[in-house]
């Protein structure tokens, strides 16, 4: 790069009306792109606890999600005696039978959605070390108390701390909110007997979460469960299960984001191309002069591509800054695999920001390339004749 950078930057500044309009249009593209990426990232983060490969989730054979799985508690008793299951501090098997129920509840904007209620016993918390109470306290079994995922409490007024709510045929009190570091933040947790009673599901579980000593032991346990004809249960490791739940839903947003970015990016490329064409046209004599002074074609090409890249870079940074307020905005949608509400915060992380800036620079460069090539290819004498 022999042509001084300030030449490009100052030129962009001189033609600022034009430059600003182009920057604005590319920045909008970046804003939309980063917004959709943040949606996807937030959703991924909320669904996608990575899980522990030594943990095994057991469902009824054929069921794809806990919400459509149910089986008799007898099977849980058989399960917990299988070899390979780790034991807790007081020697109990680390197997948590859990009841998952969907209940229609109202969001703060008045619309309705299915919220997952999870009935658990004490052992459930031993299996989820990341789980912690954020506000209030842990529920006590037998007295109709529940705790609510942090984000869910924000979006469903009926689930705010201290509220009384009717679930099934019984009244419950919200005594705490919790943070599970992912997947369970969109759920309501209570004692499995209490919730079973409220919905007359005293004799069934939806899933069993089992802890084994190692990923290898987990695989062995899975083989044993699936091989057992009495049980009619299917099992997979926690990471595998979480991944299935996540990809389908968040993938839609990534696809949407990319499709929008490509289409809008084209539009923005046109804007960048138009701007750079006019910059090139207005500076024909300057280009001719530079060439006559001994600058090569490729220096001219480089200078204009660089100018377009700066244009894109500035627009990208502005777009990302505009998108920043989206970070943390709380929203919710339905995971159609589990048919239940997922509440999550938009997440504008470094990856999303870099993605946005890259898109903008790419837009600038692609848009700037044809005018730069045409500038570099013209004959010096023709350039010098231009006004």
């Amino acid at each position: 790069m022999q042509i001084p950078i300030k030449y490009n930057i100052r030129t962009l500044f001189v033609r600022r009306g034009n430059t600003l309009m182009t920057i604005a249009s590319i920045a909008f593209v970046v804003l939309v792109y980063v917004g959709v990426l943040s949606l996807a990232a937030g959703l991924r983060a909320s669904l996608g606890s990575k899980g522990d490969a030594a943990n095994v989730i057991v469902l009824r054979d054929g069921a794809r999600a806990e919400t459509e799985s149910y089986f008799e508690k007898d099977k849980f008793r058989i399960l917990s005696t299988l070899p390979g299951i780790a034991t807790g501090p007081s020697g109990e098997p680390l197997a948590s039978g859990e009841l998952v129920i969907l209940q229609i509840l109202k969001r703060s904007d008045g619309s309705e959605s299915n919220v997952a209620l999870r009935g658990v016993d004490e052992v459930a918390f031993l299996l989820r070390p990341a789980f912690k109470i954020v506000e209030g306290r842990q529920f006590r079994p037998g007295v109709g108390e529940i705790i609510v995922g942090r984000r869910l409490a924000e979006r469903f007024p009926g689930l705010a701390l201290g509220k009384q709510i009717k679930l099934g045929r019984l009244e419950f009190t919200v005594v705490g909110t919790f943070d599970s570091g992912g997947t369970f933040d969109s759920e309501v947790w209570g004692a499995s007997d209490d919730l079973g009673n409220a919905f007359r599901r005293e004799n069934t579980y939806s899933s069993v979460l089992v802890r084994t000593g190692s990923p290898d032991e987990a695989e062995a346990l899975i083989a044993q469960i699936e091989g057992d004809q009495r049980l009619k249960l299917s099992a997979e490791t926690e990471p595998a299960y979480f991944k299935e739940q996540t990809t389908a839903t968040s993938q839609q947003f990534v696809v949407l984001g990319n499709a929008l970015a490509i289409l809008m990016g084209f539009g923005a490329c046109f804007a960048a191309a138009n701007t750079m064409y006019s910059h090139v046209a207005a500076r024909a004599r300057e280009i001719g002069t530079l060439r006559a002074l001994g600058f090569r074609r490729r220096s001219i090409l480089g200078a204009f591509v660089f100018e377009a890249a700066i244009l894109g870079l500035v627009a990208g940074v502005i777009g990302v800054v505009l998108a920043l307020p989206l970070n943390g905005v709380s929203t919710g949608t339905t995971n159609f695999l589990t048919f239940s509400e997922v509440t999550f915060g938009l997440r504008t992380g470094p990856q999303e920001m870099i993605g946005g800036v890259l898109l903008a620079v790419l837009t600038g460069v692609i848009g700037g390339l044809p005018p730069a090539v045409s500038a570099a290819r013209r004959e010096i004498t023709a350039l010098l004749r231009e006004r």
Partner: protein
């Protein structure tokens, strides 16, 4: 005069193309989003005199079969039929192989959906044969099913696998999306499950849409103190409740649409202004030749309108093609998007936007051109 405008547009073909193309692209996006939002709010095939009764807890809970009779005895109710969503897997789990499967009561189903057209002899065979099913024409076409063909569906919500024989094909010209379901005997499912007597949803046909509100209230009140409370709502509200579950994703789509329109305005206005600026001297010459301000304004405005409108028309055409493609691609993931189309209101909106963009982006340069003093313009010529 207009000829001069057109010549001007053709003079800088590249810019005209780039501007028109950016208008087109953006209107394609507007049409796509518009089509999605429209599809979300439409509830095709739902009659305004049909009511859905289901468990007040959620769709994963069912109602006792005994409610059937009690619903039937209500005033204004012409027919009641139970439907269970089977949600099984046909062939594999890929979304394009997904379609709606209902267990139903063959005796009463068509009383609630009289608009389904199906030959009487087919209905008769279907009613007699316990492991038979009927399907919509669209679905039969998709898989090439013929009467007598057997299909296998693996249970997912229910621990039951189905082997069914096709005995009838119905059509519903007014709601093509309704042709993508199959209906089989609920007795088949009940027996496999050990006769639990459970019903997922009851569909009711009411004598007149005016009485829908009354029936909804009475139905909910009737089971207020029963073991399973119910929620009753119109079929349309029921369909929309699935979209409601998507939450404010809709709002995000709307916001994206707005952002696109704004960025479009920037792009086009910018280019138009550039075109006008470059012709300042030409405008001055026109003025010395005796053209009046009105002429000059019209010249510039006509140019930008032509680009806006031309871009809009091309964009609409492409959007139409694209949306049809998208509809085909998405109908299996979200059945409601099978109806995805650039509806007249969306098309009008896009066309209107094209004109608006032309007017706005031509307005400022036109005003500048009209105001231009001849001396300034000619100086630029020097």
């Amino acid at each position: 005069m207009f000829q001069l405008s057109l010549k001007n547009l053709l003079r800088n073909k590249r810019r005209t193309f780039l501007t028109g193309a950016s208008v087109s692209l953006t209107l394609i996006l507007v049409c796509l989003l518009g089509a999605v939002l429209t599809a979300m709010e439409s509830a095709e095939g739902s009659a305004d005199n049909r009511i859905v009764v289901r468990s007040a807890i959620s769709l994963t809970f069912s109602l006792p079969e005994s409610y059937w009779q009690r619903l039937q005895q209500m005033d204004h109710v012409l027919a009641v039929t139970p439907l269970n969503w089977f949600g099984g897997i046909y062939k594999d789990e890929r979304p394009e192989n997904f379609f709606a499967q209902f267990s139903c009561d063959p005796q009463t189903l068509l009383d609630v959906w009289p608009e389904y057209q199906i030959p009487q002899d087919q209905v008769a065979t279907w009613r007699q044969e316990r492991n038979s099913f009927i399907c919509g024409q669209a679905l039969a076409d998709k898989y090439g099913w013929k009467i007598g063909d057997q299909i296998f569906i693996k249970g997912s919500i229910y621990p039951v696998d189905l082997t069914l024989t096709l005995r009838g094909i119905y059509t519903e010209p007014n709601a093509p999306s309704a042709e993508k379901s199959i209906y089989f005997h609920r007795k088949y499912l009940e027996e496999a499950l050990g006769n639990p007597g459970q019903v997922g949803t009851f569909f009711l046909r009411i004598d007149s849409p005016d009485n829908v509100g009354t029936v909804v209230q009475h139905a909910e009140a009737m089971f207020e103190n029963s073991e399973a409370q119910v929620r009753a709502e119109t079929e349309k509200a029921f369909s929309l409740s699935f979209l409601e579950m998507l939450g404010n994703i809709r709002m995000f789509l709307g916001a994206i649409g707005a952002a696109i329109v704004v960025s479009l305005l920037f792009i086009t206005a910018n280019t138009m202004a550039m075109a006008a600026r470059e012709r300042t001297s030409e405008v001055a010459v026109l003025k010395t030749l005796g053209f009046r301000q009105g002429h000059v304004v019209r010249l510039v405005m006509f140019e930008s309108l032509a680009v806006g409108l031309g871009g809009a028309l091309v964009g609409l055409g492409l959007a139409y093609v694209l949306v049809r493609g998208a509809a085909r691609g998405m109908e299996n993931v979200f059945p409601i998007f099978g109806t995805l189309a650039v509806t007249p209101p969306v098309a009008l909106l896009a066309l209107g936007l094209g004109i608006l963009i032309g007017l706005v982006s031509g307005g400022f340069p036109a005003w500048q051109a009209a105001r231009l003093s001849i001396v300034d313009g000619l100086r630029k010529l020097a």
